[in-house]
């Protein structure tokens, strides 16, 4: 972005979401710095899968799967009384490439297990900075290949497999979709990119507007991308699989769902990604929720905007999966 461009204040938060943020932000400064990665991992309790599953008619199985330099874990979720041959969802979790685990976001994907009788596979990719790019996206891609290879055993139709994730998980889902396209990998039925983290360059208007407030602000975004890319960040060495916003050609992708909020760093890179898909005649659905901050529906699932945002994803999945 040229230095002459004037940066206006970000659009205001939705009233209800703003109030939630006012309460919750007391526990967390808006900017996540590198020193905070370790405390964030150990100090903030991650969702406990037993709690998330509590009462739901869903079976959980952990599998160790091979990757280039070792093994990683995936979790497989199947509805009790599952009917084989339905849809599958391969999930890549969020957390800025630096935190979170395969249960991050489970409260939403477990609903999909129930709603669609979908088999959900959530991958525990290894995190930056200990495992910088390309490990996270390669782990996810390996997880996708394993999932498709085991479709029969897991009980879903590989022709009805959707990849999806939120935030960094949305970026990884986009990167894996590109990789599958370029390497002749599995044909995906859809790509569900929930406020995806796509662009290491941090130069859009929205990346400047959300600075020092909100959730996952400009500085946090620097922390995440620096951890993932190190010295290669901002250079031509960054692959389109790590930072899908750098892809010039978005043709040949599966139908893609993208959502984001007006008051988040990722707004403009997400909107631009949808535009690039349309530019080459691709299929994309874009929702930009007014007054949301990054991850608004996870922090305030009961808020009106959150309910509508999550319902829009479910409606898209219904159309894509024919379920």
């Amino acid at each position: 972005m040229s230095e002459k461009t004037e940066i206006h204040p970000a659009p205001p938060f939705d009233v209800e979401l703003g109030a939630v943020l006012a309460v919750l932000a007391e526990a967390m400064p808006p900017t996540l710095t590198p020193e905070m990665i370790e405390p964030m991992r150990t100090g903030v309790p991650l969702p406990v899968i037993a709690d998330l599953l509590g009462g739901r008619p869903i079976d959980h199985e952990e599998r160790r799967i091979p990757v280039a330099d070792g093994e990683i874990t995936v979790s497989v979720f199947t509805k009790q009384g599952h009917v084989a041959g339905g849809p599958g969802i391969f999930h890549t979790h969020g957390g800025g490439m630096i935190i979170g685990d395969r249960f991050t976001g489970a409260d939403e994907y477990l609903q999909w297990v129930e709603e669609f009788d979908a088999v959900v596979v959530s991958v525990e990719y290894r995190l930056a900075p200990e495992f910088p790019d390309p490990t996270p996206v390669d782990d996810c891609y390996a997880g996708l290949l394993w999932t498709v290879e085991h479709a029969d055993e897991l009980g879903f139709d590989p022709a009805r497999l959707v990849i999806g994730g939120a935030s960094a998980g949305g970026g990884l889902a986009a990167g894996v979709s590109l990789k599958a396209r370029d390497e002749g990998g599995p044909a995906l039925a859809g790509s569900l990119l929930i406020y995806p983290m796509l662009d290491d360059r941090n130069e859009t208007v929205s990346s400047h507007q959300i600075d020092g407030f909100g959730v996952w602000d400009r500085g946090s975004n620097d922390t995440g991308w620096d951890a993932l890319l190190g010295d290669r960040r901002f250079t031509d060495e960054v692959s389109i699989y790590a930072a899908p916003a750098r892809a010039q050609d978005l043709s040949g992708l599966p139908p893609t769902f993208i959502d984001c909020a007006t008051a988040e760093v990722f707004r403009d890179e997400d909107v631009a990604y949808a535009s690039k898909i349309w530019a080459v005649g691709g299929i994309a659905e874009l929702h930009v929720w007014p007054g949301g901050f990054h991850g608004f529906d996870a922090m305030a699932p009961q808020a009106q905007l959150s309910v509508e945002a999550r319902a829009a994803r479910v409606r898209w999945l219904h159309r894509i999966l024919g379920a």
Partner: protein
């Protein structure tokens, strides 16, 4: 990302988190949130459904944040249920559908919810009109402010209006009301007040004030309240126009009439003979003893005998014109001092 800052969920049942509750509702009020959003906040924070019934707004939000237009089938009537609740704006209330022991933050959630709902109601056009009406009839407010409030109510400065008063649970209509009604606290209980240009055909109880220009509607209100206090089953609609000097008497009665001998005697008589009241009331409004007898279905000699006895007790002769005037005034003052609207 919820892994960064958590998620808004029901508060700890044991630990008080007043600050969180206050800042949450303050932010909603600052942002002009709707009542639905306020209720959703209360429902999410308390982990229970929350509801509101105020100024005709009846809403309920379930614990999962979903707006419900109606109660669950078989659920208790909110007005009867033993749920914790808090009054809102005179005649309304908000509640949390908590059965069993209250949680540490219930009271604070209800208090802040009620405060926020009252502010939201105040901001609506109807709320603004109610506030203006309160101002227009308030004798303690400077005339310039009352005139300004009258303008906000679109009252014409050159036209006379009447304040109409009814018990809070009642109706000020049917009228051609030019304003919404508002419930105000009076020393005699909660009274619903409206302003009308003309008034006819109300079933009552209702008191209709003197016709006054907007700047003097405080006087119309004072007279309407006296008229309302003088209503009874026999005369449910009382017009201040018909009261004449009784209005002045009411002023005096509101001063110090407790030790008036006639009033004291009447109280003593009614204490010993409650059945005397219908007969005395009938006498006060009837042409003759014969009319009283017809009114009550007694033989007129029975009425004569009672009047003689009651007259002895009261200390004045009820069969003389002056005695009937004294009776009528004493009955009016008694009603003025005892009538309550709760």
């Amino acid at each position: 990302m919820q892994e960064l800052v958590g998620r808004l969920t029901a508060l700890d049942p044991e630990a008080s988190e007043s600050l969180k509750v206050i800042s949450y509702f303050d932010a909603l009020v600052d942002g002009h949130a709707s009542i639905e959003v306020l209720l959703r906040g209360a429902a999410v924070l308390s982990g229970q459904a929350a509801g509101c019934d105020a100024h005709g707004v009846v809403l309920r939000v379930a614990a999962n944040g979903v707006l419900q237009r109606a109660q669950d089938p078989g659920a208790p009537d909110p007005a009867q249920a033993p749920w914790p609740s808090h009054p809102v704006a005179h005649d309304g209330r908000v509640w949390i559908e908590r059965s069993g022991p209250a949680h540490a933050n219930d009271e604070m959630i209800l208090e802040r919810l009620a405060l926020a709902v009252a502010i939201v109601l105040d901001r609506t056009p109807a709320g603004a009109a109610r506030r203006a009406l309160e101002t227009v009839i308030d004798a303690g407010t400077p005339p310039t402010e009352r005139l300004e409030a009258a303008r906000r109510l679109s009252l014409d400065a050159g036209t006379s209006y009447r304040v109409v008063a009814a018990p809070a649970a009642g109706e000020v209509g049917p009228t051609a009301p030019v304003t919404p009604s508002v419930v105000v606290e009076t020393p005699f209980g909660r009274v619903r007040v409206g302003v009308a240009q003309d008034h006819a055909g109300s079933v009552g109880p209702v008191g209709i004030g003197l016709a006054r220009r907007p700047e003097a509607l405080d006087e119309s209100w004072a007279s309407a309240l006296v008229a309302l206090r003088l209503t009874d089953e026999r005369e449910p609609v009382v017009r201040a126009d018909d009261l004449g000097i009784l209005l002045a008497l009411a002023d005096a009665a509101d001063g110090d009439s407790a030790d008036d001998p006639d009033l004291t005697a009447l109280r003593t008589l009614l204490g010993a003979h409650p059945a005397a009241l219908p007969l005395l009331e009938s006498l006060a409004v009837s042409e003759s003893v014969r009319a009283v007898a017809l009114d009550l279905g007694f033989h007129h000699s029975t009425v004569q005998a009672h009047l003689a006895y009651y007259g002895d007790r009261l200390g004045f002769d009820l069969r003389t014109p002056r005695g009937r005037v004294r009776l009528s005034l004493a009955l009016s003052v008694l009603r003025l001092t005892t009538r309550r609207f709760d």
